[in-house]
């Protein structure tokens, strides 16, 4: 896991931001400068950028500023990424609105949209997630669970147990489809 918890210097935070932006541009297939400027202002990148700044402030013990900025970020982009969360470089968020992120994450994690990594209200603690993990849309990791490297959570998967490396977590059975009479 590559997420640091000691005070970073600004160049380290900037390199993380650069990794995040490179991953975003790669996911959107490269692009001209004007497209990249547009992607820079998308709320999914702004959420990660503001998180990086908040995290930097938080680790330097400017906690009140960090909390104020993360509150503004949440209102602006709709993503609640706590500055207490440790996220490795190259984080990619598909759709920012409705994200709730607490816990510790490795490098190159992907959140497709409306994901939650948060507490479960029963036991204290937050998820610890490895590298290269993909959270599908509306996927949730709740409570003190450990998710291994390269795991993939399908849409709306709820994780409340440890997930090993290279695992795929799906919601099964599939919803039954039945014909109905009349509109």
């Amino acid at each position: 896991m590559a997420a640091p918890s000691q005070a970073p210097n600004w160049s380290q935070t900037r390199s993380f931001i650069r990794e995040d932006f490179k991953r975003l541009c790669a996911a959107y297939d490269g692009g001209t400068l004007s497209r990249r400027v547009y992607w820079f202002f998308l709320p999914n990148f702004q959420a990660v950028l503001l998180y990086r700044v908040c995290r930097h402030l938080y680790l330097r013990n400017w906690r009140r500023s960090a909390r104020l900025l993360s509150l503004a970020a949440q209102r602006l982009t709709g993503a609640e990424i706590s500055p207490a969360a440790a996220i490795g470089p190259g984080c990619l968020i598909g759709h920012a609105f409705g994200m709730i992120v607490f816990g510790s994450f490795g490098a190159r994690c992907t959140f497709l949209g409306q994901c939650a990594a948060m507490g479960n209200g029963i036991a204290p603690g937050y998820p610890v997630v490895g590298d290269d993990v993909i959270f599908g849309i509306q996927a949730m990791a709740l409570g003190p669970v450990r998710i291994g490297n390269r795991a993939r959570l399908g849409p709306a998967a709820v994780v409340n147990r440890d997930v090993p490396d290279d695992a795929v977590v799906l919601v099964l059975p599939a919803n039954p489809i039945r014909s109905r009479s009349g509109a």
Partner: protein, 194 residues
């Protein structure tokens, strides 16, 4: 009736906006003028208002203006309807939270909050865009319903709450939600039933 054709005139766009608003007012049970003004400015209608505008711009070829307006609408309402999506007349967003729409959607569909139609599963284009679904008319999406991949949803379908639809759904059917398990509660502690 499918969504926008190759040409979309401004008169058509205004008619679509009007149909969306009339549907919303009908869903709220009709109202006086101050009530209608209030509903006009709610995010569930504003999201569709902006969508109709930037979709018109996008189809006209003014793609960058469309994207800028889309970006503004994304921040203002929190609803993400891609400019490449085409939606038929009289769409209803019951709650504007967490809605992500990509693909092609028919007329008179309604979305209870936190729904999504989109891709990320499978390739192929069946008319809604690469890897995106095609949804028929009169479809109701329950809360947190997801329709993913290049699949076709028929008309007059009811998609249950939290349903994840990744296969074709024929006309006049329903996608049932998965049942929840009731667990025993003992002295304030919850024990899960096996």
């Amino acid at each position: 009736m499918s969504g926008a054709q190759e040409q979309l005139s401004f008169a058509q766009t205004r008619a679509l906006m009007r149909s969306d608003f009339e549907r919303l007012v009908g869903w709220y049970g009709g109202g006086s003028l101050p009530q209608r003004v209030f509903w006009y400015f709610q995010p569930n209608y504003q999201a569709l208002f902006f969508y109709r505008l930037y979709r018109w711009l996008f189809v006209k070829g003014w793609k960058n203006s469309a994207r800028l307006l889309f970006l503004y609408s994304l921040y203002a309402t929190g609803v993400e309807i891609s400019p490449t999506t085409s939606i038929g007349a009289a769409c209803l967003l019951e709650h504007a939270f967490g809605i992500i729409l990509c693909g092609r959607i028919g007329a008179r569909c309604s979305f209870a909050g936190q729904c999504g139609t989109g891709g990320g599963i499978g390739e192929g284009d069946i008319g809604g865009g690469p890897g995106l679904p095609v949804v028929g008319d009169d479809v109701r999406f329950g809360p947190k319903a997801l329709v993913l991949g290049p699949i076709r949803i028929g008309s007059r379908v009811a998609i249950g709450a939290s349903a994840i639809v990744t296969v074709e759904v024929p006309d006049d059917s329903e996608v049932l939600p998965l049942p929840s398990k009731i667990i025993r509660v003992k002295m304030g502690r919850a024990e899960s039933a096996p």
